[in-house]
């Protein structure tokens, strides 16, 4: 397993819940706080008289109150106080709450999963945020009557033996392919994100023996050393798609639609089409690139099959994934894809991430992934195809818990995207699309801004995040008494609906 190494925030002031305030008019720079705090919140650098500004994000908060090293109690001049920071109150939204963002940062820094509801679910009031695990052990949160207890009494935790998080991506004939963790990185094109972000994702994918995806903007040269862990995407714009890019990879992804903008093509606004991006996409610098919708060569399952045959002709060993959005007939689409020869049906739910999409599309078109997964899972079972198709879900998978819930609802694994960017320091301000792109240097190809993400640091953050997710997944499986993630697929009985959950 890849090594987890601490990868702290690249900012001098990391945002955290707690703000430690030092009243400089009272402080006499005695340095007591620096001596007592074991977490390094206070520091008096050698050669300095004054104590540095408190590093609030290292503080453990009010739980420190009864500890012998609580700085507030030790300060002889009562110059220190704890409070909730203004940044903490400002950051986050319903889907990605402040705690989910900050929690993801912490996991990317340390590689250790965070426990507690606020790090596991968001505040959207529906879908994953209203589903809990039906644990039967002493810590269990499920509240059930006798009938339910009887139904799940076979679920007894076991602690011995290794727990596998490996999943198969190809259940049909042909070359077998599996990944060691039940998730892989979603498509983000060169243009929507910077090259170092793409490379960091690829490096983390290689370290964890999983995959990352190019998105629809072509296959940058620098990505070639990661060929075995890269999925190349063929989307409606066919930007940067060449025979060579299809032949060098193990998985080819057909993007019919994207959850954040179902029924619409990709959007890359003119400002982000820099010289390099334009060259890669064989387009004109500065001109907005709107991919068409749908594939204008595909109006039937037969046309769809023709596309897949074309891929298999070029690369006979390739696993083909078909990425679709979630309309009401998504179950039929999944079956159609099977008959066209797809190995993976990748469902991208309507609340998924994007570099740019009309707000009206993000909120309104197609259904959330929570509904689409059981719909497709059940239908494939009815058709007798569930054992030959791999279902991959995406579009709003924010935490390891979301991933586990998606699997229990019937998916084999998940694709993640936004959470990777959050791990790299995204605050979800939503300004990826305009002007120079992301002000935090992630979703941008601006030569100046994109320097902000160092490849090694970024890869380590993602490796850490994956490690945290994997531990959490193992932990949950252990509590369910399962030895493999594959046992969780479609286990509705492991989930309960929780109407009571509210936050804030």
């Amino acid at each position: 397993m890849p090594t987890v190494k601490k990868a702290p925030s690249r900012f001098p002031n990391e945002i955290s819940e707690i703000e430690v305030t030092r009243d400089v008019s009272k402080c006499i720079s005695c340095g007591t706080c620096a001596k007592v705090c074991p977490f390094g919140v206070h520091e008096r650098k050698t050669g300095y008289n004054r104590v540095s500004k408190p590093l609030s994000y290292l503080c453990i908060g009010t739980s420190c109150e009864d500890k012998p090293f609580y700085c507030v109690n030790h300060c002889p001049r009562e110059a220190l106080s704890l409070g909730v920071s203004s940044e903490y109150r400002t950051i986050g939204d319903y889907r990605w709450t402040r705690d989910l963002i900050i929690g993801t940062w912490k996991q990317a820094e340390t590689g250790i999963p965070l426990k507690g509801q606020r790090y596991e679910i968001g505040n959207s009031g529906g879908g994953f945020d209203r589903i809990s695990f039906n644990f039967q052990d002493s810590e269990g949160r499920g509240e059930m009557g006798g009938e339910d207890m009887a139904r799940t009494s076979h679920l007894t935790p076991h602690t011995s033996g290794a727990i596998s998080t490996e999943i198969e991506l190809n259940k049909r004939e042909g070359k077998k392919l599996s990944i060691k963790v039940p998730f892989y990185g979603g498509g983000m094109s060169f243009g929507s994100v910077s090259l170092s972000v793409m490379l960091a994702k690829a490096k983390a994918a290689r370290a964890w023996s999983t995959f990352t995806c190019t998105g629809e903007g072509g296959y940058p040269e620098a990505l070639k050393e990661y060929d075995d862990n890269v999925i190349t995407q063929v989307a409606t714009g066919l930007f940067g798609v060449m025979e060579d890019t299809i032949q060098r990879v193990k998985i080819v992804e057909f993007k019919y639609a994207q959850g954040a903008k179902p029924g619409l093509g990709g959007h890359l606004l003119g400002d982000k089409v820099t010289v390099e991006v334009a060259r890669m996409r064989e387009a004109v610098e500065g001109s907005s690139l709107f991919s068409p919708f749908p594939f204008h060569s595909v109006y039937s399952v037969e046309d769809h099959k023709k596309h897949l045959d074309w891929i298999k002709e070029l690369n006979p060993d390739a696993i083909v994934s078909v990425k679709v959005s979630t309309p009401t007939d998504v179950d039929m689409v999944a079956v159609g894809s099977y008959y066209a020869g797809a190995n993976i049906i990748h469902l991208d739910g309507s609340y998924g991430g994007t570099g740019a999409a009309p707000d009206i599309a993000k909120k309104n078109i197609a259904m959330p992934i929570e509904y689409a997964i059981p719909k497709v899972h059940e239908f494939l079972k009815l058709e007798g195809l569930r054992d030959t198709m791999t279902i991959i879900a995406s579009g709003g998978i924010r935490t390891a818990h979301d991933a586990l819930k998606a699997i229990a609802l019937g998916a084999d694994g998940v694709v993640i995207g936004t959470v990777e960017l959050v791990a790299l320091g995204c605050v979800r301000c939503g300004n990826c699309e305009s002007g120079r792109g992301c002000p935090r240097g992630i979703a941008t190809t601006d030569p100046e801004l994109s320097k902000a993400i160092d490849l090694e640091w970024g890869a380590q953050r993602l490796i850490n995040l994956y490690a945290a997710w994997r531990s959490e997944i193992v932990d949950v499986l252990k509590r369910f008494g399962m030895k493999s993630i594959k046992e969780l697929v479609g286990r509705y009985d492991c989930l309960i609906e929780n109407h009571e959950i509210t936050q804030d």
Binding site: Y94, G263, L269, F293, T328, N364, G430, D493
Partner: protein, 488 residues
């Protein structure tokens, strides 16, 4: 091929400093190092022009909440918080986000586009409890606003025949009722406030440019741009007029016969014996379309049925400003207890539409729905629920920078001085807004593979309703039926 309907949008900046989403405060221990000015790409932070040694006050309305300056400041002396004025905008229905997005569209005429995923609640009340569908692969779809295929947003106001009869010579024998074509399913409704001459002037100009209609209360005497010109000329202007005079209590009040004579359409307040007035107007001007304005409330479906059978061709169903119906309807809950509750136009429109479909008279009448139409998505969703077209009110005021502070309702000063709005400027802002709304409608239609908005009406099959999908999927998932086969 007919000329494509196109709304030309022209960027039209606001007159007042915008209200920012965030507030940024620079602390006293700033060392004027200028790091914030380097990391901010939105020019919030700048040095003082008169004294370059110090930093200027942050230009907060430009802040987009990226936190870069906050996190990069070597003294950690910058603070960010949610904008107080911003979060106080509007109310719980007309949220700050809705007002702000309408401002943006009125300024730019562009569809609001952003990065990252959807940020809001999973679902909500009314229109927030439904999603529109899309077609994936098999149905031929158009490219929305970027495509070459023309998607029509024309709606016809008036009665449509279910079938046309021909005689033995192949000549049409059915009398074809006249209809009015509106190039988009949006007309302007009466305003709840801000009823100033210049605001009406802006609305009239925009309605005329867009070739749609605006409803004006006949008592207020606004007769459009041509009212000052007298004589024959006046009548000519009226015929091109895009005004729909609204007559309250028509059985009691008189009306300006000349004016009614000249208008393409008239709206009458619903009263029990409204048919008498309808016939009177019809006699005066047989070419006039008559709409009866009926409140969404108890027995609205029955009233609509009765009016339709009586020969009314257009019915304007209105709810309150927040899209709630008037009065409380009797509802039965799961345990068969009955209680009274206001309904939302999403459900009431469906009820009326279905009732008419069941009676096989749906195409005898055009339904205009209004009340709480706040965003482009509401237009599409109201049509899916069964409306032919919608009428809007508050968003037009937002186009004029209205903050919905409700000061005017308490006789306090309007912070954006609505009554001083220049009509040309206001009209362009409204045109921009409607242009952006229409483009969003095209995006939704394109995603569904529809080529005209008329086909969207009542197409509940092209929508996903929360209560249905919850039941359909989660009843099975959380049903207490046990299925232990692990891999299915």
């Amino acid at each position: 091929m007919p000329k494509k309907y196109n709304i030309e949008v022209i960027p039209t900046p606001p007159r007042h400093t915008p209200i920012g989403k965030f507030e940024i405060e620079r602390g006293a221990d700033c060392i004027n190092c200028g790091r914030c000015a380097i990391v901010c790409i939105y020019e919030v932070h700048k040095r003082q022009e008169e004294d370059l040694r110090s930093m200027a006050e942050p230009v907060v309305y430009r802040c987009k909440g990226c936190f870069s300056c906050i996190q990069e400041c070597p003294r950690a002396t910058l603070t960010i918080r949610d904008g107080t004025d911003y979060s106080r905008l509007g109310d719980s229905y007309w949220t700050p986000e809705i007002i702000n997005t309408n401002w943006y569209q009125a300024e730019t005429g562009k569809i609001p586009v952003s990065g990252a995923g959807y940020r809001g609640p999973f679902s909500g009340e009314g229109f927030d409890s439904m999603w529109t569908d899309m077609s994936e692969i098999v149905r031929p779809t158009r490219d929305g606003i970027h495509g070459r295929e023309y998607i029509s947003t024309v709606v016809e106001i008036g009665r449509k025949l279910p079938a046309i009869k021909f005689d033995s010579h192949g000549e049409i024998v059915s009398p074809i009722p006249s209809t009015i074509n509106v190039p988009l399913p949006i007309i302007f409704d009466m305003l709840p406030f801000g009823r100033f001459e210049n605001v009406y002037g802006a609305m009239a100009k925009a309605a005329s440019y867009l070739d749609t209609f605006m409803i004006v209360d006949a008592r207020e005497g606004f007769m459009g741009e041509g009212q000052k010109a007298k004589g024959k000329r006046q009548k000519a202007r009226w015929e091109e007029s895009h005004l729909i005079p609204y007559i309250t209590q028509p059985t009691i009040h008189g009306f300006d016969v000349d004016w009614i004579n000249a208008c393409k359409m008239v709206e009458l307040e619903y009263e029990e014996d409204v048919m008498g007035v309808v016939n009177e107007v019809k006699t005066l001007n047989p070419g006039t379309s008559i709409s009866v304005r009926v409140p969404f409330g108890d027995n609205v479906a029955g009233i609509v049925e009765e009016l339709t059978y009586a020969g009314i061709e257009v019915i304007h169903l209105y709810a309150d400003l927040n899209g709630q119906t008037f009065g409380k309807s009797l509802i039965k809950n799961a345990s068969q207890q009955t209680f009274r509750k206001s309904l939302l136009i999403k459900d009431m429109t469906q009820n009326v539409h279905r009732h008419l479909v069941d009676l096989k008279i749906r195409d005898d009448v055009t339904l205009i729905v209004s009340g709480g139409i706040a965003m482009a998505e509401h237009v599409a969703k109201a049509i899916i629920c069964g409306a032919d077209l919608t009428a809007i009110d508050l968003p037009l005021l937002f186009a004029l920078e209205c903050r919905y502070c409700k000061n005017c309702q308490e006789d306090l000063a309007c912070p954006v001085e609505l009554k001083d709005v220049n009509s040309e400027w206001g009209a362009q802002r409204m045109i921009n807004l409607i242009g952006a709304w229409r483009n969003q409608l095209l995006e939704i239609l394109g995603a569904m593979g529809l080529r005209e908005v008329r086909r969207l009406r009542g197409e509940v099959g092209r929508a996903i309703f929360l209560e249905n999908i919850e039941k359909e999927t989660f009843d099975n998932v959380f049903a207490r039926e046990v299925s232990h086969d692990a891999n299915g």
